[in-house]
Chain length 102, copies 2
DNA sequence: GCTTCACATAGAAAAATGTCAATATACTTC
DNA sequence: GAAGTATATTGACATTTTTCTATGTGAAGC
């Protein structure tokens, strides 16, 4: 995976408000309006953060009528963890794996 | 762990040049001047990135005479992986663990 | 239809970050 | 101690990111 894409994944986790949002989603799927109640930003700012989280694949949104429900993407979280593991693994621990290309 | 500290850890991984640096360190400890040869930034910029990586605990520096040798911190990498795991784990999977406080 | 509600988008301002040139520091060698 | 080398720090500037207000969109209910 190229550097740009890796950086985009971890950008999801490098803002305090996005960390708060992810923590809130650990207890399960939540509507945007519920998240808005709990973190101290305006609605457009929340929307901006949700876009970054969804683009990074860490969170998925599900529209239902007027509402959008967000939840942690297990697949996305798994991918981020694998990415971090390979990124920090010494080459000797990771020989012949395409994921560890330079 | 509070949001600010978590964000600081993942800031290490959200810049393309820092990803490149980490990838270079997978093959083992390297001198700053060696890293400088391989990535396309000036010496002060490299120094800036190394500080961020070290402050996040992902990389450790070892001074030896005029040189500074950097390497991936296995402890720091492990901590980042654990942090990511707990952050994205559903509450039900993580009951009674202090790491999962909101 | 019109209104209301939930969310997204546009655009601008402010804050944070990445980058460089210049300079400082700290070590080695002569 | 003077000169050279490796790295860190400072200060300025450009870019990116975060945040807001204002406005647009799309669904539900009247």
């Amino acid at each position: 995976m190229d550097e740009r894409k890796i950086a985009a994944i971890f950008k999801a986790f490098c803002d305090e408000n996005r960390i708060k949002i992810i923590k809130l989603l650990r207890s399960g799927e939540k509507c945007a309006c519920k998240l808005l109640d709990e973190i101290n930003v305006t609605q457009p700012t929340l929307s901006h953060h949700m876009k970054i989280l969804c683009d990074a694949g860490i969170v998925v949104g599900r529209k239902e009528g007027k509402w959008t429900y967000y939840s942690i993407s297990e697949k996305g979280a798994e991918q981020a963890k694998e990415c971090l593991t390979h990124l920090t693994a010494l080459d000797v621990e990771c020989e012949n794996k395409s994921c560890c290309e330079k």
